[in-house]
Subunit: 246 residues, 2 copies
């Protein structure tokens, strides 16, 4: 039996690590680190830094991340096929343990929020006996609200968190007082009324965090410019937006 | 100017503390700890333990928490009056700093999620020059999903988080794939269809955590019994529920 700990490491601030995350990492026999396009990328680098700082004695198994197959048109089918391919790589990466021991994966944010790690772990568990454990971590939602010192909920209010495509498809969610948009590849909130209140951050929680806040009509052009500029500079961007009706 | 750090300490597991939370607490000149009904209560005890473990050198200012006025019928008016009363106590508790220095409040969970600390801080800031800072912490939502190793969202799905009274008033939120119910004083989800999937935890993240999971018709009587038993034993209960349609 392999104990597999999925450790949330927070949204890019090395100090987001919890005491539990540090302890469990230090107890591990093996850390699995995914590599993107053969290289490291900023997210893999953060994982390396976490290991070097807190658990330099724990061996690292690196594996190349497969890419999604653009030939598969349906979203869910494409994602499921991708998760299957990733689970094959995990299985290979776990092989040094020979079926017993304690492996960890360092997960950006929290393994429970818009992250595929738990779904992939479930696939691997069908083939390798696994005891799966989740160590919660600070999410980008929390990094965003902390950065603005703004509560997520209004007093007694309802919060809806959704992927950008669901906001595009369905508009403002019925009954929501606060909306958080994740996995946004453009400013998907750009068709909402101009007086919608916006709190936006790129790289929320990281050293290079950029942010803006105000009524949509006022901040949208600034956010679009900041987003393009930041993406050009860093080669990638991950952003998050909180919205409220005025 | 007083720097006031609102530090999320997680949902009752002392290891939920982040490295940032520990550092900021250790840098403080004063910790404000609210006392309920003159006594400590389990939540104040946890705060004392955090201070004793990580920052025994930092002085503590205790203050008695006022109670809500049941004579005020309207919910928002009652809560606002209560927040006004609490902000008076904070102002007194901050007085040893003489207008400058670094004070911290240790907030259960994350200061941004169904917590009044940011609203009270805003009131105090109208009277005392304050620089307010939020240090995010692990919420009971995260403790719940970690405990079950269950993602919060379905694949590409929409999450709605709401207080129990909004679920009672409005029923299942339109468009939600996953619903999280907070601030529940009874099992407010008891009128939903019997095949609704339920993940429930009392004291999520704490040593005395109790939990159950399954279709509503099956788990509701067990949860109601466990809730009553736990409340009788500990004198209080805080619970959280995640719901999904089958």
């Amino acid at each position: 039996m392999i104990r597999l700990s999925l450790i949330g490491i927070g949204s890019g601030n090395p100090e987001h690590l919890t005491l539990e995350a540090v302890r469990v990492l230090q107890e591990a026999d093996l850390v699995l680190i995914p590599m993107k396009d053969g290289g490291k990328g900023q997210l893999a680098e953060l994982r390396d830094d976490v290991c070097a700082t807190h658990a330099p004695h724990v061996p690292i198994a690196r594996f190349d991340m497969p890419v999604r197959d653009p030939a598969i048109a349906d979203y869910e089918t494409r994602v499921n096929a991708w998760h299957d391919a990733i689970s094959d790589r995990w299985q290979d990466a776990l092989s040094p343990l020979g079926g017993s021991g304690h492996a960890v994966l360092l997960v950006w944010g929290d393994p429970s929020l818009y992250d595929s790690t738990l779904r992939i772990a479930a696939r691997v568990a069908e083939r390798v006996p696994l005891e799966i454990e989740v160590i919660p971590g600070i999410t980008s939602v929390q990094a965003l609200t902390a950065s603005f010192a703004e509560p997520l909920n209004t007093l007694g209010g309802v919060i809806t968190i959704l992927p950008a495509r669901r906001l595009r498809e369905g508009g403002w969610p019925e009954g929501a007082d606060t909306v958080v948009v994740m996995l946004d590849e453009a400013t998907s909130f750009d068709t909402l009324p101009g007086d919608t209140l916006v709190w936006w951050a790129g790289y929320a929680g990281m050293a290079q965090e950029v942010r803006d806040q105000g009524p949509l009509a006022e901040v949208l052009p600034r956010i679009q410019a900041a987003r393009a500029e930041a993406r050009a500079r860093h080669g990638w961007i991950m952003d998050i937006t909180m919205l409220r009706r005025p």
